[in-house]
Structure formats: C-alpha cells, structure tokens
C-alpha cells in the first residue's frame, strides 16, 4: 500500500517539469486592463532547452515570469515540478523559486561581492549544505565556467561575458531543476553570446536541467531543442530548429 505523499512524488516525477494549460494574463485595472496572454498551452519535457521567440510585446517575459513563480497566476493552470502555482501563497512561490535558476538580461551581480561570493549567494539560499562544502561547490562551478582564476574578482573588474558566466554559475550552483533565462546574451557580443549559451546547455544537459530561454538572438537558435514563438500573447509556432 502506498502513502499519499509518495504517490504525489511519483506523479511529480512522471509529470513534465512545466505543464501550462489555458493560461490567460492581464495587466492593469479597469479601462487600462489589457490582456497579455491568451489561452496558452505549453508542456516542456525534462532536460530540454526550449527557446521562446516573438516580437517585442508578444508576452514572452510575461509567460516566463508566470512559470518562474515571479508573478501570480490569474487564470488557467501552471504546474511547475508537479505543483500547481495558481492560488499558491507568496511563501510557497518563494519555496518553489529555490528550486529554480534565474539568468537575467543584465548580469545583476552584487557589485560589493566577489565572483565567488556572488556564486555562493545562489547556494546559501539552500539549507542543509554544510558550510565547509559551500565554498568548494561555488569554486567548482566557477571553474566549470572557466572562471577559476577570477574567483576573487569584483564584478567591476570582469568583462561582460565573464560577468554573465558568473551569473550562470550562480544559477547553476544550487542544482536547479529548471533554469529561466531572459535574453541572457543581449549584453554580449555575438561570439561570446553563443559560447556562453553553449556552455550553459552542456552543463545543464549533464545535470538533466530543463531550460526555458527567451531570446531574440538568431545565432543561438541552433542550440535549442525546441523553439516556441509567441505573437500577440498566443503561441503561434512550436518547432524543432533547422539543424544547421
């Protein structure tokens, strides 16, 4: 006989990490109320790298922040890692976010903390990791991203690509189940943009991490397992990339 929690866990394991169905979203109140998402359905399988494309204002960021537990779900259903986000309390959303990694358009590193300390911030939010292992874990991920010799640098002394790689290390260090990235290459030149995403993909694949990434950058589309295109708040295309 199985107990209830283990059934839930089993179901959570079988279920894809992201299951969105009938999602609608509005901004503003009264006359200014404007719908940003219309009846969005999206299922992302475990370990996939899915890229979100679409014109400016098409709702990519809105969709990303809803799935990423950064906004309250108003209508429809978002299931993340086996849990329904609609109606979840603010505290539960925070708990859920601890299992996620975020990479922003700007690196958003803390300018008073070294690269190593910034990465540690991604780890310190998790309890249960012994203090002695934290420094090593942060150093290890930095090394994986080729920044082993930059650990003690402040962000001000790093290049744009290096900063973005520190931000990726911060997102990876907690071993997240899903990583959300919004135009992570926007601040980088094309070559380093491609390199950074390729590296992210390789590390994520090794850990079985799912990635949902918004991008305008055509050069990196080839790295995607799937490309979903939004237009005026609706999903209009869902395809495999043309293998180049």
């Amino acid at each position: 006989m199985q107990t209830a929690p283990s059934i839930a866990r089993l179901r959570a394991q079988d279920e894809p990490p992201i299951v969105v169905s009938g999602l609608n979203h509005w901004f503003g109140e009264g006359d200014a109320r404007k719908q940003a998402l219309f009846d969005v359905d999206l299922v992302v399988a475990s370990g996939q790298l899915v890229m979100l494309m679409g014109a400016s204002g098409s709702g990519k960021t809105t969709l990303l922040t809803l799935i990423g537990c950064l906004r309250e779900v108003q209508d429809g259903s978002v299931r993340l890692l086996g849990r329904e986000l609609r109606g979840a309390s603010a505290d539960r959303l925070v708990e859920s976010r601890r299992r996620l990694g975020f990479i922003f358009q700007a690196h958003n590193l803390h300018d008073s903390l070294t690269a190593h300390q910034n990465v540690r911030m991604g780890l310190d939010v998790h309890e249960g990791v012994p203090e002695s292992r934290r420094d090593d874990a942060a150093a290890h991920v930095l090394a994986l991203l080729g920044l082993g010799d930059r650990a003690t640098y402040l962000p001000a002394n790093l290049s744009g690509g290096q900063k973005q790689r520190v931000a990726i290390a911060r997102a990876l260090v907690g071993n997240p189940d899903v990583i959300f990235a919004d135009e992570p290459t926007a601040a980088l030149d094309k070559d380093s943009g491609y390199d950074v995403v390729a590296l992210l993909k390789r590390l994520a694949r090794a850990r079985g991490t799912t990635i949902l990434m918004v991008t305008h950058d055509n050069r990196i589309l080839g790295l995607a397992d799937r490309i979903v295109t939004l237009q005026d708040g609706r999903i209009v295309r869902d395809e495999k990339p043309a293998t180049s």
Binding site: L64, R71, V94, F102, A106, D111, L113, M121
Partner: protein
C-alpha cells in the same frame, strides 16, 4: 583590517557579511556615516556631561553640610532662593527631641569685582562661628579667625581668578577685596567648586554676613542645619520637626532628599537643565536621520541586487538582516571615535570651566546601547524601501 572584520562577522552571522561588504565598498559613504554617528555620540556625551556636572555641582555644597536634616523656607527650591525663615524656627527646632544640634545658616550671592573690572559671583554662607556648620576640617580650623569682623574663607576652586591667589592665601598671607562697600579679608581657603550659577563659595560669620548684606534681618536665616542624636532614626526626627514647624513657611527634609529635589528642580524646571535635555534629543535626532539617510540610500542603490536575491528565493528576514547588520556596524564603529573625542572634550571643558564634568563608567555603556537602538530604529525605517524590490521587474 576590513577582511578581518568581514571574517569575524561571517562567523557571527553564519552567512556572508553582505551589509559589511556593501558598507566598505563605498568608502566615502561609510566615512560620512561614521562621522555622523560619531557626531551624534559626541553631542549626546557632551550634553550628558553638562547635565551630570550640573547635578554633581548642585550636590557639592550639600555634601559639605555637617547635618542630616535641612530646615529651609517652604518657597525655596534651591539653596539660593526662597524667603528667610522666621526667628523662632531655630529655637523650635532645638526643642524637638532627638535633635543634637541645630545651627542657623545665612545665604546670599555676592558680586566680587576683579581688578580687570569683570565680576565673579560667590555663594556666601554666613554661619555661627561657635558651631561646626560644615564638615570641612579646613573651615572648622579657622572658625576663631572668622569671629573677627569682615574676615572670610574662600573656595579654592573658584573659577577665573588669578592662579597664584589661593596658594598665597594658604601660605598664611591674607587677601583683601572690596564688596558691597566693605573690605573683606580672606584668611583661608576650603574646597567645594563652582557650579553653573556661581563661580565659587565664600564662608563668613553671621555677623560679617549681616554687615555685608545690610538688608538682611538678624535672626532670620535661610536655613537651619540639624544634627540628629546618635542612635535616633533620622526619619523620626524629620517627622517631629514637621509637626513642630509650620508647613506654611518651613520645609523639613533630610539633606539627601533636599539634594535630590534641588537636582530635580534645576534639571527639569530651570532653562539650563531643559537645554541639556533638549540637546540630547537633538543628538539622537541627528544620529537617527544621518543613519537613516545612509541606510536608505544604500538600500535604494541595491534594489536590483535585492530583487535578484528575492527571485533566487531569499525572504524578507534576510534583507532585514542585511540592513540591521549595517546599522549595528555603523553604531559600533561610529561609537568608538565618538567616545574618544568626547573624553577629550570632557578634559578640555573641565580644565577651562572647572565644572565637575566626568565620565562615569555606565555612561558609555548607556550611550552605546542608545546608539544601537537609534541605528536599529533608522534601519527599521530604511527597510520599508525594501518592498520596492520586485523580482518580476527584473526581466
């Protein structure tokens, strides 16, 4: 140095000392904040010092009284105000059982013109030279010479008089000065120390006193010093005196109670005490405002980073922790220079004014606790800005 403190804080907090790292990252802001906290501390220390000196200087003459009980006019709040007592009060006092001795003491303020034309004020006690009104051995040794007319003993700690004056009097030579159209001969010295209203004290015989202050009526002193018989409870004698003497013109208190009520009166009713109290309030306000400014602009500067941390999963308590960490660091680090400078100022003030301004051991502790509270309050106000860090706005 910063590294060491950082590591210490990391041990203490069990997390990265982000507040400390933020503060030390912007050195100019840190310096301004510490200067602000130190300034507030200095202001508070100096005001407390003056207040303490006021309280201490009020107590000094009382402590010299060779008495357990003080009988004074009912309208007297301090030694220097109030009407004279009616003649009979001394005899009524002496008739009360348990009273070992009672002596009438006159009091008035005297302007003492210096050679350069400036004026020193002296608090003059007129005492019966056949009784020991004061505890001072120096005064009691000279009582016979006070019986000679127009002789006086002067307070060695009198403010702003030529430096060589008192040693020469002590060495056996006398010193003469004119006051109220009489020539006073100073034949000896004793020590009390001036306060905020007078520069020093003068002790004369009651006869000399009445010649010096022509309007004063013989037999109508300002107060009566009462000594209680050994073994008799002072409180009981106070009660008996209160029954024997009419409350309409006379108050009877133990000397300790009289000091306390004089101190209470001068610190809460007289402008000087209120000014010092007000100064403390200003110091606290300055500190709170400066620390608030620093902490809130620091929060504002890091809203993006905080929003990022919120997105990652840090909760409100974590951010409050950072702000309070900063508040505590500012309080501690600002307090040290504040205390050092305040100690220096105390020395300078004591040397230039002769006021009994000292640093009791409990005061730095009190001010430190107050500073911590002040910084915590500022931090609490500053954290309201944290709400503006919304992780949804980051994308």
């Amino acid at each position: 140095m910063t590294r060491l403190v950082g590591r210490l804080l990391q041990r203490l907090l069990g997390r990265l000392p982000i507040g400390w790292l933020q503060l030390t990252h912007n050195r100019t802001r840190l310096a301004a904040a510490l200067a602000g906290v130190a300034f507030a501390n200095i202001l508070i220390f100096v005001q407390l010092g003056f207040l303490g000196a006021l309280i201490e200087s009020i107590g000094l003459p009382y402590r010299m009284m060779n008495a357990e009980i003080l009988v004074a006019a009912s309208d007297a709040n301090t030694l220097s105000d109030g009407s004279p007592l009616p003649r009979q009060r001394l005899y009524q006092t002496l008739a009360v059982p348990g009273v070992a001795a009672a002596t009438a003491v006159y009091y008035n303020r005297l302007d003492w013109k210096q050679l350069d034309g400036t004026i020193r004020t002296l608090d003059v006690f007129g005492i019966d030279p056949s009784a020991q009104a004061f505890r001072s051995a120096e005064i009691n040794a000279e009582l016979d010479r006070l019986k000679l007319s127009d002789t006086a003993l002067i307070d060695r700690k009198t403010r702003n008089v030529p430096k060589d004056l008192f040693p020469s009097i002590g060495a056996g030579r006398s010193y003469q000065f004119e006051a109220n159209n009489r020539s006073i001969t100073v034949v000896g010295t004793f020590e009390i120390g001036g306060g905020f209203s007078a520069d020093g004290y003068l002790v004369v015989s009651d006869q000399t006193f009445l010649r010096l202050f022509k309007r004063r009526v013989p037999g109508a002193p300002n107060m009566i010093f009462v000594k209680v018989e050994p073994g008799v409870p002072v409180a009981a004698v106070v009660e008996r005196l209160r029954v024997a003497l009419p409350a309409s013109d006379t108050t009877v208190r133990t000397v300790a109670d009289a000091v306390a009520s004089d101190q209470r009166f001068q610190t809460t009713q007289k402008p000087i005490g209120i000014v010092f109290g007000f100064g403390i309030v200003i110091g606290v306000l300055v500190g709170v405002i400066i620390v608030y400014q620093v902490l809130s602009s620091d929060v504002a500067d890091h809203l993006r980073e905080y929003a990022t941390f919120k997105a990652i999963g840090y909760k409100r308590g974590f951010f409050l922790g950072i702000v309070f960490e900063e508040a505590m660091v500012l309080a501690m680090l600002g307090f040290i220079p504040g205390l050092v400078i305040a100690l220096l100022l105390y020395q300078i003030i004591a040397a230039t004014t002769g006021l009994p301004i000292t640093m009791p051991g409990t005061r730095p502790l009190m001010v430190l606790l107050g500073t911590l509270a002040m910084c915590t309050l500022s931090g609490a106000i500053a954290t309201r800005r944290l709400e503006r860090a919304d992780p949804a706005d980051l994308f």
